[in-house]
């Protein structure tokens, strides 16, 4: 394997690790707000590292641009949807979980 391939694999694995942690958070965290935190992180860092890993293997500048665009669109969607869900939850009176509550 060339150095670039090794770097690409490391970046892809790092991305997968953040997706894994995000998914564990989604399953373990106690309420809607804390779960949204876990999701936003998977989108931002998990997808970000996977995009970087794939950039190193991209065949040309068009693919590079496409990958970066996918990440930016996912970020915009993630931030907007996360905000909308959290706001709706609060308007519906869902009280954030506190450290004394039962899980």
């Amino acid at each position: 394997m060339t150095t670039i391939e090794i770097a690409s694999v490391i970046l892809l694995l790092t991305g997968a690790a953040f997706f894994f942690a995000g998914t564990v958070g989604l399953l373990r965290f106690p309420d809607v707000y804390t779960r949204l935190h876990a999701l936003a992180k998977a989108d931002n860092l998990g997808l970000g590292f996977i995009m970087l890993g794939l950039l190193l293997q991209a065949p040309g500048p068009a693919t590079v641009l496409k990958l970066v665009l996918i990440w930016l669109l996912a970020l915009a969607a993630s931030a907007t949807v996360g905000f909308l869900i959290a706001r709706r939850a609060r308007q519906n009176g869902i009280v954030p979980w506190q450290s004394g509550d039962r899980e």
Partner: protein, 165 residues
């Protein structure tokens, strides 16, 4: 009606950006430009109707510093939240913070709220005028300091003045 100078500039800029987008999506295939030019024109017209030309000033140094800030804090916060999720005992201490923003009304506030949602550890819940309501994973973290830092970066990038609250 004669189109104004900013409108023409906006139309040219947006068409150019859309052309680059088309080029990326089609991997630069020459035989796609027939459909492409029609699509680009239609998209440019639609974009001008949906979002009329606004003067958007973006400082290049400001943008760079914002990106560095965003990447650094994403990484730092991401590792922190991953640790929260993976450690055997769940030790979250969530809280709601309300912070009065110093950014003026408009795109800056929205951009800040979205940035904070993407940075691990903070989640924007409500933006009501200048009051930003945030959910944080760790009540003890210095949230206000971090929000202020992000606020300064956004203001610098967009050339906005911070107002006293």
């Amino acid at each position: 009606m004669k189109p104004s100078v900013p409108a023409v500039r906006a139309a040219l800029w947006r068409s150019a950006l859309l052309a680059v987008l088309w080029w990326a999506l089609t991997d630069g295939r020459a035989d796609s430009w027939g459909v492409g030019s029609v699509s680009i024109l239609a998209a440019a017209i639609l974009s001008l109707r949906l979002l009329p030309p606004v003067s958007t000033y973006i400082s290049r140094v400001g943008l760079l510093r914002f990106l560095i800030f965003f990447f650094y804090h994403s990484l730092r916060g991401g590792i922190q939240v991953a640790w929260f999720a993976l450690r055997p005992r769940l030790s979250l201490r969530p809280a709601i913070h309300e912070i009065p923003l110093r950014l003026p009304e408009g795109i800056g506030r929205v951009l800040l709220a979205n940035t904070l949602s993407l940075l691990p550890g903070t989640l924007s819940v409500e933006l009501n005028g200048r009051r930003l309501c945030m959910h944080v994973l760790d009540a003890a973290a210095p949230t206000e300091v971090e929000v202020r830092r992000a606020e300064v970066r956004v203001a610098h990038m967009l050339g906005l003045e911070l107002e006293e609250t």
